[in-house]
């Protein structure tokens, strides 16, 4: 499929719910600030920082669910 095909198939503009509730952002943000304050440049750099929500809210949460035997796509939400 080419980008042209992708564009031609475009047809969506309705509002869709945000997939991540505010409390999962709050928890993730709080943990990041605590880690940042403690570890400083280990966490507050441009590689770790932008992917931190992905790692904590999706990958780690999905991993936990997988370990607990619930294999559906999971997250903090």
């Amino acid at each position: 499929m080419t980008p042209g095909d992708l564009g031609r198939r475009a047809a969506q503009s309705s509002t869709s719910p945000e997939p991540w509730p505010w409390w999962s952002w709050l928890l993730t943000f709080s943990s990041y600030v605590v880690l940042g304050f403690t570890l400083r440049s280990v966490v507050l750099n441009w590689i770790v920082g932008p992917v931190y929500p992905l790692v904590v809210m999706y990958l780690v949460a999905t991993g936990f669910r997988w370990l607990l035997g619930r294999r559906e796509p999971g997250a903090l939400a």
């Binding site: 564009g7 945000e18 993730t28 600030v33 940042g36 507050l44 992917v51």
Partner: protein
Amino acid sequence: MSWAAHEFENYFLQRKTGVKASFLGLALGTLGPDLFTKYFVYHVPPADAARFHRGFPGVGFSHSLLFGVVLAALVLRVSGSRSWAAGILIGQWAHVLTDFCDTAGDMPFFPFSIEPVTISMWKHAASQGRYGDAAAYYSSLGAVWDFFWMCTTLCFARVAMSRDYFRRVVVPADPRAWGWLRRHTRLPERALLLVYQGIFFYGAGRMTSWFLVARFRERTPFQPTWGGPAYIGPAKDLSNAPLVEVLVRTAIGAALFAGFLALCWHLFIRRWWERGEDPPIVGERERGLRAVFGD
């Protein structure tokens, strides 16, 4: 130098440019000038840090408008993507303009003028090392500047961080890159949304963390006055030229830069631009894209 402001600017710029600029291109453009230079800035002798970072000789060319043009032109030539070229150019230029604020300033019209342009709102403190630099920045008007940009983004560009905007604008502006990420990482849309929103998170997170580090670990005084913080002593300007001389040199540099840009446009950039392609959504004037994610 600005710290978290560079992350917040991305969403503001994305909101203004819509589907004509790739968000990933914008992010690379705004982060680019510091991405490969900051590490070295903290490892040169402290007395040379500011000149090395922003001046000449040094890596100050990375904070010039021409550097953005070169990067964008190369990306346009190699990828043929106008949205990536536009994103990188706009992002890098935003970084250059934002960095006028500290005492080192930057050389927007390098190599036609090596006169630094600055409004000296806060001190360039790379000579203090990474932690000292962060503490000084978040003890100065820089902290206010970052907070201002965060509030501006939340007030005027909050919609740009929503899932709908991600679907309607961000992905359509760059279907190749997001599609590639989707295929190669096998991440669902909600995870890719985290990648998109992660830049804002990073800006807000490091702004808060470094501010707390400055207050409670480095214990530096909060001195948000023009040209502060005072506790690190007087700033060394990269140029001792009087204001009129700075203005004249900068004006000459700007004129030469504009002429050089026009020449490059006519000689080869226009050809590359015409050969390049817009994201499909731009040409078809449609709104909405679910093809990449299918739900």
